[in-house]
Subunit: 144 residues, 2 copies
DNA sequence: AACTATATAGGAATAATTCCTATTTGTCAA
DNA sequence: TTGACAAATAGGAATTATTCCTATATAGTT
């Protein structure tokens, strides 16, 4: 038996689907399971390749639509900034970003407390740090 | 005369180009000027549309190659996470991200100090905040 | 002014995502 | 349990973003 009924995250999946009147299909079930297993922030294509091992006929569109649906109901999050075209920032000084998830506007802000936050040593040891930034996501005044 | 020789940022542009043996072409000049004027974190396509008003024959590839070159030499930055496919995160609890700019790996980390940082009131008033995250960019242990 | 390596224009190719539509299938109510 | 139907899926087409290719043009040096 692949899916345990007493698995907490599968219960969350079922509850969230019911709450939003989404049907519990085998495709959605396997997509959610793969998302939940992945610790590497997979793309829709990565989930597609895994899901195809279980359902060889599953379409990419189904996977893509499903992960976006999951993001909409809060079962998963889209990693900040991902997707869409590359965007460029001519301000190379330390600053922070406010992102509107509706219009994709990115607003710069400055904050000395944020600038002066220390990076933990265990990160500095394992990782060559180039930049540090606080990203706040939400809905801007124009969109709400 | 469109470009003032005493303009600080244009001098930076020229110095950086010389430092990296990049020729100062009219195309690069206009692309840099447009990037520097833009406060809205433009995409390559947005810069292309502006540059085309000055040089109607400029190609998208030139603009795209140029903004990426500028990013490589540090004249501009790519906004964190932008470009590439959307990626999904099944951990909906508060956590932070370490990104490797070489392999695009995203590594989760937890930090209570970061979690407890306050969001300034002037942001809370103008913006419906959904998430706050610290993004650290650099090079991971495998890539360096 | 001529030379040469670099940069550009334009179009083709690739990658990521979304749209379209005929068919299938969960779910609900009898 | 079964039938009805709205919702979901598969597969392919279309769209969007980006990169590659190559012949031509040109910045910077001599």
């Amino acid at each position: 038996m692949a899916i345990k009924d007493n698995n907490v995250s599968m219960n969350l999946f079922r509850d969230k689907c019911k709450e939003h009147n989404l049907r519990i299909t085998p495709q959605r079930t396997v997509i959610y399971k793969e998302l939940h297993k992945s610790k590497d922030h997979p793309s829709a294509d990565a989930i597609f390749r895994k899901a195809r091992k279980v359902f060889p006929n599953i379409s990419f569109d189904t996977v893509n639509r499903t992960v976006l649906t999951f993001a909409k109901i809060g079962l998963v999050n889209v990693v900040e900034g991902c997707g869409g075209p590359k965007r460029f920032d001519s301000d190379t000084e330390s600053h922070h970003h406010l992102r509107c998830i509706k219009c994709n506007r990115i607003i710069d802000f400055h904050n000395k407390d944020y600038d002066s936050m220390e990076i933990p040593d265990e990160i500095k040891n394992k990782f060559t740090v180039l930049r540090k930034r606080v990203c706040i996501e939400g809905v801007c005044s124009k969109c709400r």
